[in-house]
Subunit: 251 residues, 4 copies
């Protein structure tokens, strides 16, 4: 019988002794902000894959690799060893398709973090505002109040949430489920329209995250991509305004 | 592995010996009537939190507190000790997202009531009628016929239900699932349009409930809020009529 | 922990020794045909309740009885003892809300039938045709081919099904799940528009069923109700035609 | 209690010793391409049924056979013994109705393949392109890269998938879940509009599959059906163009 969730560590990751590890979660979500940041960091820092997670709570489909090989939808763990600390990344194709699966997977991720001795978790996401954002701020959430001050010093905003306001999916649940395991966890959310994949929001999050973890990450490529997108949107907006003007001549 | 439902009692509630306890359930529902009443009573009576319930049947999201701290969606238990009887309140962010979860949670609430020696349960809710209600009545349901007379004497109406008419969610299921545990349970439902959060319906329910449990609760603040809302709706209705009149001049 | 499905036999049904029992299933479904027939027979034959089935696969709501007492959504077993054979009826408020629940409940019903020594099961339902039917036929299905001849002799039609055509819910699943328990089972479906509760279709099914089980059931009241409905629909159709004529005068 | 999934082998299949068996999966899916190919081969090769699979993850309905007998929705196993190799076919009425059921069933199919000593699995399907296809290509996927070369030599195309592109349901999941069981598996998908049952796509897939497994299958009947459908669609398109022309005269 297939298990609800399976994790497989790569053989290359035989020695699970890590140096003051932190975990950065960047699964798919609003504006793909978390995914963009985590995958960019994996590439920029040359992190190496150490494990794969599959689950029947993911969509029932396989992904085709470029060579035509099918593999299960999955989440992946990457590791980057640095002198100061080791960084584990949690990225992947999908989040759960069911509410209960979200809880069970987030709980599993926290088990993994505990097992690997993770000292702090950063979950990344987008904060949908429903309109284009010129200079996206980074909003934060924490899993104990003492963590807030350090984030604010780094430029993270703590917006008074609407009553009942929350964070849906892994980025939020991990924060709460890390508490009984005594792992500090913070969530960084880049403001985003929510309509588009948003490298601008990702760029804002990356800048603050790199500062917080004191690991320099060259943001050039992500910033370039954000600048391109910003330009493309500007052109789109201008051409729309142009159309409006033409229409007003006619009218 | 995460449990389906977890309850955590606060350390301050070490002594679970209660004095003739009753349980008042006011979870979210139609017009938020039950929630308004129970949360108002908690504040008015100075009840103290004694426990928290989390469950993977709640929506997969965390709630942000005012200081930016994330916590799981949860239900909460509050306790108010009075000379005559102790009152436990069951309130919270959400009900279940699935049909099966509704049953499992309601059954769990009844287990908790049994464990704490609860003698009677009051479940609170709204009764949606689809139009604005000027003087909302309070409709009732019971889990054994003998309980009806006392409610009627207190002004609760027992409307002949439409065939197959029922009560959805915790407010109803708790009544039925309390029967095999030999706990009396009654449901009080304030008439409400069902479109708006309804302090007027809540005010009606509070008046009758306070009488029934013989615990005075100052209704001033809730009544004020109801009066404000009543005024706001009147203004809205008048301004709509005004518009209609203007339109009839034109037409 | 609440069970998936619970059955409770009434104390009055202590002696479960039955005389050549058959089971008639009439749960809610298309046109409420099965429900109408089974509930009519229960009343006409003076069958007595012997048991109740509750399940978390039913909708999460309670039903209010006329005296304001709340009870779980449930299915019920009734028994009518006759000299020739005993008849068990399975009726109720709802069927399952989930696909898996449908299987689990139908399997449970077959377990009950086996335990009570049932020799044949009749499942009743409507066969939706999407238009009004003047003289509804009764269509049949069986769980072994040998049963077909007797049904045809009684006037049941076996329409060549469309490829992949089937019967959804308990009325169908019980047939298939009775096979490994070696219980004969047949399904009788009255043709119905599918839009309305249909006493005409029910009347057709009742006539054939009473013949098949060789138990006379006075159909007067059901036929009266069917005649009333037929008249009401005729009036409705006429008044619509009248409107069309008036419109053609205008146009 | 009913099991999640049940398999029943026919008595005629007492000797499960097979000769270098392969498994061909052709369950319902896009354009019914896989189903058409597998069922055609079963008939053309005179394969015999050896087993039936039922599951509560299938829709909760029974299928009526031509004689009016109801049976559970099911999948079926057929066997064709040839001198060179034995061929097992997996066909059926439905796939799972839930995401989790898809995983559990695909895993079960791989268990069956392992138990029967299957050396290679062919899963068949349609590749929906959203428009009519004149000469449908056959696209492929594999469960290890080494399998690709042989497919390409047989005319299977390996299109660079869109990022995140995948295969939904059994045809894809079986590929991935066969890997830990060390069974080679390939998926053949005929290009199809996705709107219609598509014998043309099926014909393309059959041609390549018969070559790959080195078992000649007379494609005449399937090709005839494809030609008929092609003609019918041409007529439809012409008559639409005709209408357009008539409209342009009017306009």
């Amino acid at each position: 019988m297939i298990e609800d969730i399976s994790i497989r560590y790569l053989d290359s990751f035989a020695d699970k002794t890590l140096n003051a590890p932190i975990l950065i979660e960047g699964l798919p979500g609003i504006g793909q902000v978390g995914k963009l940041v985590a995958e960019y960091m994996i590439q920029a820092l040359g992190a190496e894959k150490i494990g794969e997670i599959t689950s029947l709570y993911f969509p029932p489909q396989v992904i085709l690799d470029e060579d035509g090989t099918a593999r299960l939808s999955r989440n992946e763990l990457f590791l980057c060893r640095t002198p100061a600390k080791d960084i584990i990344f949690l990225v992947g194709d999908h989040q759960s398709t069911s509410g209960e699966g979200h809880y069970i997977l987030a709980d599993f991720y926290c088990d993994v973090a505990k097992e690997l001795g993770v000292r702090r978790i950063y979950t990344l996401g987008g904060f949908g505002v429903g309109h284009l954002v010129n200079e996206p701020r980074v909003l934060g959430a924490v899993n104990r109040p003492e963590l807030r001050e350090q984030l604010e010093a780094a430029g993270v905003m703590f917006q008074r949430p609407e009553p009942g306001g929350g964070i849906v999916g892994a980025a939020g649940l991990i924060l709460a489920l890390a508490v009984p395991r005594e792992i500090d966890a913070v969530c960084l959310m880049g403001e985003t329209s929510g309509y588009l994949v948003d490298p601008m929001a990702a760029s804002s999050v990356l800048g603050i995250l790199a500062n917080l973890i004191e690991i320099p990450v060259d943001p050039t490529n992500l910033n370039d991509r954000a600048a391109e997108m910003e330009k493309a949107i500007e052109n789109l907006v201008e051409s729309e305004q142009h159309k409006d003007e033409e229409l007003s001549y006619i009218g």
